[in-house]
């Protein structure tokens, strides 16, 4: 459900940029969404299409750059690749793994006309 709010947030950033940088149509939007960010990409696409209707971003293509999840084991300091926001350290088996990357939710750039 909150993908709708996030999609509205994306559209706001686009509309703010349009005022500042004087463009009237967006053809492509690049989003960086970490694999550990609480965002369902397909739902995001669906919601963005809905909120962009009638705006300068109507019909814009959504390109999603998925960044990998990473963590650090606080017991043995190993770097851990995470596919979920938690996991066991492959080196020592501990669950004391702090997430260090992959929670990004950013609008990176736009292709505009």
């Amino acid at each position: 459900m909150h993908e709708m709010s996030l999609a509205e947030g994306v559209l706001q950033l686009i509309e703010d940029a349009a005022r500042k940088q004087d463009f009237s149509k967006v053809s492509t939007v690049w989003l960086e969404i970490g694999r550990l960010a609480a965002v369902e990409v397909e739902s995001m696409r669906f919601c963005f299409e809905a909120v962009a209707r009638g705006s300068i971003a109507e019909g814009a293509k959504l390109e999603i750059i998925a960044t990998a999840g990473s963590g650090r084991c606080t017991q043995c300091s190993a770097s851990v690749v995470l596919s979920e926001p938690f996991g066991a350290c492959p080196q020592c088996g501990s669950y004391q793994v702090q997430v260090t990357g992959g929670t990004e939710m950013r609008v990176k750039e736009l292709e505009v006309v």
Binding site: M1, H2, S5, L6, E8, G9, V10, Q12, L13, I14, E15, D16, A17, R19, K20, Q21, D22, F23, S24, S27, L31, A38, T74, E84, P85, F86, Y95, Q96, V97, Q98, V99, E104, M105, R106, V107, K108, E109, L110, E111, V112, V113
Partner: protein, 310 residues
């Protein structure tokens, strides 16, 4: 949607009235647009640098218009919410208010626990913001305890955001050194992503739910600093494995603190109240430090003024 302050589409209500009134802008080129706003006392909206109302007309063709170009944005999708949260946090810090964002599934016993907390903290100023999709039943329950409460109805929304909470804070007229308890919409997913300006998120898990909820809904348990394991008076009647639940929570968040509580039997409530009192003392100390710092700065400036010739 108001593109200026990020207001929703008119479905958000605070104590039954629309959070915003509409107003209309006339642009330099003669076009008008209206949008919803509620300029409550003291709450001015974040007008970004680019928000003048003299929009350049879209037909002002610059050379090369029609050619595609790239525009770097590099902004967090939640930037707007985070800016409101920062403002809320500053308001709270200035006044030494300790604010908590209470999150859980529906039915975890949040409101009952809040009512009990308010009653036990007699003498301490407490205010409550209640979030639900519909009805003001929860705010009514809190008001019955004597604490001021406002109800935010999010309409179709599944979480509170920092902008709604900012408006609710104005309506509450918060007291200095008070405790602000924000009961979020019952939902273990979306509220994790939205900072409201609170000191901590507190997640409430009741023992009538599954032990494995922390790993099923990891984002929320990762975002929280404290887990209240609620309704422990029911444990004798259930197969709930407390150690397993705490183990799952610590897998997701190694640093999460856990307090076992029961609003009915009173178990753990002293530890919970100590947590609140510690937070209140820290908020007051931080405010005092700021005030003392400002006083020192004023004294320094006065000395400088006296030294300089008139």
């Amino acid at each position: 949607m108001c593109t200026t302050c990020g207001c929703g589409e008119g479905e958000v209500k605070i104590d039954g009235t629309a959070a915003h009134h509409g107003h209309e802008h006339v642009h330099a080129d003669g076009t008008t647009h209206s949008h919803a706003h509620d300029h409550g006392a003291e709450h001015d909206h974040e007008h970004g640098a680019g928000h003048g109302h003299s929009h350049a007309p879209a037909h002002a063709h610059a050379p090369g218009l029609g050619a595609k170009r790239m525009v770097q944005i590099e902004q967090d999708i939640l930037a707007k919410n985070n800016a409101y949260a920062k403002r809320n946090r500053e308001t709270l810090a200035e006044r030494g208010i300790f604010a908590l964002n209470l999150v859980s599934s529906p039915g975890s016993g949040k409101t009952t626990l809040l009512c009990k907390t308010v009653a036990l903290l007699a003498g301490q100023a407490v205010a409550v913001i209640e979030g639900d999709q519909q009805t003001d039943l929860d705010a009514e329950r809190i008001r019955a305890t004597g604490a001021p409460a406002v109800q935010i109805n999010t309409g179709r929304g599944c979480h509170l955001d920092a902008h709604m909470v900012g408006h609710a804070m104005e309506r509450l007229g918060l007291k200095e050194n008070s405790l602000l308890l924000i009961e979020n919409v019952g939902n273990l997913v979306c509220p994790a992503a939205f900072d409201l300006g609170e000191a901590h998120k507190v997640v409430i898990l009741s023992v009538t739910e599954g032990e494995d909820k922390p790993v099923k809904y990891p984002d929320m348990f990762r975002a929280a600093s404290l887990m209240l394991l609620n309704k422990t008076d029911l444990l004798p009647h259930l197969d709930f494995d407390v150690d397993a639940a705490i183990g799952f929570a610590r897998r997701v968040n190694p640093n999460i603190r856990v307090i076992r509580v029961s609003a009915r039997s009173g178990e753990g409530l002293n530890e919970w109240l100590d947590f609140l009192r510690d937070g209140l003392a820290a908020a007051d100390a931080a405010k005092q430090e700021t005030v003392d710092g400002l006083r020192r700065r004023i004294a320094q400036l006065e000395v400088q003024l006296q030294r300089s010739p008139p």
